[in-house]
């Protein structure tokens, strides 16, 4: 078990290195970083001073080392606009994105799982085709367009819900639906195929042979096992959602990390942009590592692979 943990952690560290190297290189290759680190409206004479101040006149390897050191100590610079440390800003906004992600995951489960189960139980019927159609739509609709349409219908047209901002459940539901719809579609598909496979298995046949009524077969035996991969996917999706919700957060003015990134870009606040990207990548790598270790703990077969 320990061997697995050490190996996996090593891989994660290498991944983090490559991530930081990529970001570092992209910034250096696409122009003079001095113009990025200088606030908009700075004088040319000051550029030389800023260059020295940020150590940008040092050779690249040295710069990279101090970049990595800064990341490790959590020193990601100060946002131009907010006058706060970037990591402080990030972790301040992270719970909001988490809230949105959780709500969207819940919605995707509430819509996707029952629909998928229904599709599987009544396979190839009218319900099933409806479910497959909905799944297809879910994967094809751009989530930000769905958000805009929801605003049009529920805020402008019906005036039931507020358009933006963070508040009570009324503010949460539209962005959560817009974000979660795509994942509801993939949940539907996964639940359906997982349930179909479970229904074909031996112990289900045995339960039927025993004479159990159909609903007991499905509810007591089929259910739990079919849902294992579904909840796995839900967990992975949650992490994806937190980071991919940039546009939804922008449309609904939701104060999360996606919106933070957008603000940084709009206001040419480079330390903020770089910091958010670095932290987003780091977060995913760390979460993946934790999930992998948890899985290896639960399923001994995994410890022996790779």
């Amino acid at each position: 078990m320990w061997q697995f943990i050490i190996r996996r952690t090593l891989y994660s560290i290498i991944t983090l290195f490559i991530l930081s190297l990529t970001i570092f290189t992209v910034v250096r290759l696409t122009g003079d970083p001095v113009t990025l680190m200088a606030e908009p409206g700075v004088r040319p004479e000051d550029l030389a001073r800023i260059r020295v101040q940020w150590g940008l006149d040092l050779p690249w390897p040295v710069q990279y080392l101090s970049f990595v050191k800064n990341i490790c100590t959590g020193e990601l610079g100060k946002s131009f606009n907010y006058r706060m440390s970037v990591s402080e800003l990030y972790f301040q906004r992270l719970p909001n994105s988490l809230e949105l992600g959780l709500a969207a995951t819940l919605i995707s489960l509430l819509i996707g799982v029952p629909a998928g189960l229904l599709s599987a139980v009544r396979v190839n019927s009218w319900w099933d085709n409806l479910g497959k159609g909905v799944a297809l739509l879910g994967l094809a609709i751009p989530n930000f367009w769905l958000g805009l349409v929801l605003i049009l219908v529920f805020s402008v047209g019906l005036q039931w819900l507020p358009t933006s901002g963070k508040g009570d459940w009324r503010h949460l539901i539209m962005p959560a639906v817009a974000l979660g719809w795509y994942f509801a579609a993939s949940m539907l598909r996964l639940t359906r195929s997982s349930m179909l496979e479970v229904l074909r298995s031996e112990y289900i046949k045995l339960a039927r042979l025993k004479g159990l009524p159909e609903y007991a077969v499905i509810a007591m035996h089929g259910f739990k096992n079919a849902l294992i991969p579904v909840f796995t996917l839900a967990g992975i999706n949650l992490v994806v959602m937190i980071n991919a919700a940039v546009i939804i957060e922008v449309i609904f003015a939701w104060p999360g990390i996606g919106r933070l990134l957008f603000e940084g870009i709009f206001q040419r606040d480079f330390p903020l942009v770089q910091g958010v990207v670095v932290l987003a990548g780091m977060m995913i790598v760390v979460v993946n590592l934790v999930i992998d270790i948890l899985y290896a703990y639960i399923d001994p077969r995994i410890r022996l692979t790779k």
């Binding site: 891989y11 290498i14 991944t15 983090l16 490559i18 991530l19 990529t22 970001i23 992209v26 910034v27 696409t30 122009g31 297809l136 739509l137 994967l139 094809a140 609709i141 751009p142 930000f144 367009w145 805009l148 349409v149 605003i151 049009l152 402008v156 047209g157 358009t163 994806v240 980071n243 991919a244 940039v246 546009i247 922008v250 449309i251 990134l261 957008f262 870009i265 709009f266 942009v273 958010v276 990207v277 987003a280 990548g281 995913i284 790598v285 993946n288």
Partner: protein, 293 residues
């Protein structure tokens, strides 16, 4: 002079072929290609100029205030929405196809190298793949677009850089199993150089997977381009793009000018739907074993 029997046989063969084609996505995609190619001819107006004589914010022609001159309405500068949609198809098609091409070629090439050559090449490529997959696609794309600056070619390159990792992973897996097949081993024993083995044996056999992956992910690329344009870091104005049309429409939402939002979104939806259906059809046709993709 052909006999009637021959004509009937030929017809039956054509009909059989027609039944096997995917009926829903093909017309959509064909019209998309036609529209993109002939937008200059089909579009009633110049997409960057206001329609002469029409008001700004005119609604579609069946609503009050609309006119037959601007069928789907006009935007905040009085430009015809229909024409902008038709020209926007170009951007989506070009960026979608080219971006997928770049990502697919890069990903397949690196996947083959990693799978076939093994060793440190495999390790390096896989570590980079893992790292870049860890970064959320949209965040990465936005970051690159901010650094590189907005232009159509930059967006194509960026999308290629962001999405190649999906191909590399899958292709590498394919190559790993292909490597153990008899015909590959025979070729190696016969003394064929590695490059030849790759070109003649490995590459043709992974192309099926690449094509299926490509058709399944081209929708993602198109939505990514629309997202980038929506955020303002995609294809820059005045080139009409469906994503930037949606961005422009955002400020009019509260005023209830729904047509500015609905039409571009429906276009994106239809195109992505069509590519998805095509991808599903391809996947079933080309190799039933790929059904778990």
């Amino acid at each position: 002079m052909t006999a009637p029997g021959e004509v009937a046989r030929g017809l039956r063969r054509w009909l059989r072929l027609g039944r096997q084609l995917p009926l829903l996505p093909l017309p959509i995609l064909l019209s998309l290609i036609l529209v993109a190619l002939f937008a200059d001819v089909i579009a009633p107006y110049d997409p960057t100029q206001p329609v002469p004589g029409a008001k700004i914010y005119a609604p579609p022609f069946w609503m009050q205030g609309g006119s037959m001159h601007a069928l789907l309405g006009t935007d905040f500068q009085g430009r015809d929405i229909l024409s902008r949609l038709l020209f926007g198809a170009r951007v989506s098609l070009i960026v979608g196809v080219m971006g997928t091409l770049v990502a697919g070629s890069l990903g397949t090439a690196l996947g083959i190298l990693a799978g076939y050559l093994g060793g440190w090449v495999d390790q390096v490529i896989m570590r980079v793949t893992d790292a870049w997959l860890a970064l959320p696609a949209l965040v990465f794309a936005i970051f690159l677009a901010t650094m590189l600056g907005p232009s159509m070619w930059n967006i194509i390159i960026i999308l290629g850089l962001v999405y190649w990792t999906r191909y590399a992973r899958v292709i590498r897996g394919e190559v790993l199993s292909l490597r153990e097949r008899e015909f590959v081993k025979l070729a190696e024993i016969a003394g064929a150089k590695r490059w030849r083995v790759i070109r003649r044996h490995i590459l043709p056999n992974v192309l099926n997977t690449t094509m299926v992956l490509a058709s399944l992910t081209i929708g993602v690329v198109i939505i990514a381009e629309a997202s980038l344009s929506f955020l303002g870091v995609g294809v820059p104005p005045p080139e009409p793009a469906w994503g930037s049309m949606l961005a422009e429409a955002r400020s009019t939402l509260m005023a209830g000018k729904w047509w500015l939002t609905v039409w571009p979104g429906i276009c994106i939806l239809l195109v992505v739907l069509a590519t998805q259906l095509l991808g599903d059809w391809l996947r079933v046709r080309l190799d039933p074993q790929l059904r778990n993709l």
